[in-house]
Symmetry: C2
Subunit: 204 residues, 2 copies
């Protein structure tokens, strides 16, 4: 086992890091982003606040890292291969529906919903938080869609003059709009309808 | 002139109402929604806070009314006919582009941008504010698109099995996503590309 060779201090650091992540996610869900302070995160995690200042430049950075780690753990537990890309079975609509249905389930999961809303809302009014949110959390996912759409384009299933960047926004934009603004319930059926529509518009 | 017959107290009320609207919009743009209090609105508007409590049930209600009034004044000044519906020249894509380009200009207008962002962010984390935002500000606009899409459906330009409610979200969702999350600049060219794509997917 490699584990015995990890120095104690390194294991302690990892425990502290995880405790800080959990404290940040819990606080933002309970009291909202504006009232989640470094002091409160430190107190709940049982660390000194200098530990947090040493490891992260800002509250937003803590929360974003906590989110990325949470997403990785969830993906590992569910066996999902989000990090490895969107599956390519040769059926573009089916592949997109599989991924967007999973996104619907995640957005409707209370463990994700409150902190995701808090972080999105913070980014909407604070350009710096918004830029980190996009760069670290949103864009890596969008790139996976773009890769899948390019593959479909090479396979002749998507017209050559379609812009994959705009196509991915046509897929995720309506779902985000419905979820963030709560205009109507966000369901798997809605995700399917959006995919059917967009894929029809992309046909050669 | 009718004006001379308006009682003084009614004119004073209208002046106060307008001052309260302006104070609410100004504060939310400057200090954000959470720090915009009834007390601060009253102080800036030069009225007692009881006046505000007598006329509105909540801070969100003040701000929403201020927004609706601002939208009406802007529409009146520009001669736009948003309240009367989306034009129907018989060319669905051209009509949608005209309206969405105007929306792009409005969202990029600093007078609208800061308070709209603040209100949207507040609604994202507070379901009650969100519901009022959707009911009073968002849905009336969406209904205008739905009416225009239904007319195109009757004219045989949109396939009969398309759901106009989903179609309108395909139009406004991507623009809202790009603007709220600041993924890329929101331009008129982007609005045109979204319309072209969606109208292609709606063709019979």
């Amino acid at each position: 086992m490699v584990e015995n060779r990890v120095p104690d201090s390194s294991r302690r650091s990892e425990r502290s890091r995880r405790a800080i992540h959990d404290a940040a996610l819990g606080l933002v869900a309970e009291v909202g982003y504006p009232r989640t302070t470094i002091e409160a995160i430190a107190a709940r995690a049982g660390v000194g606040k200098q530990t947090i200042y040493r490891w992260w430049p800002s509250k937003a950075a803590v929360l974003l890292e906590a989110f990325v780690a949470l997403g990785e753990r969830t993906a590992a537990q569910s066996g999902a291969d989000g990090a490895q890309g969107i599956p390519d079975t040769g059926d573009l609509a089916a592949d997109l529906k599989a991924v967007l249905r999973a996104t619907v389930d995640e957005l409707n999961d209370p463990a994700f919903e409150a902190p995701t809303r808090a972080l999105a809302a913070a980014g909407i009014v604070d350009p710096q938080v918004g830029a980190e949110f996009v760069q670290k959390l949103l864009d890596p996912g969008l790139q996976l869609y773009i890769a899948r759409l390019r593959a479909a384009q090479r396979a002749g299933q998507v017209r050559a003059d379609a812009d994959p960047r705009i196509a991915v926004e046509l897929l995720v934009g309506p779902l985000t709009h419905r979820w963030l603004l709560r205009t109507l319930p966000l369901t798997r059926e809605y995700a399917d309808a959006v995919v059917d529509h967009v894929v029809r518009g992309l046909a050669p």
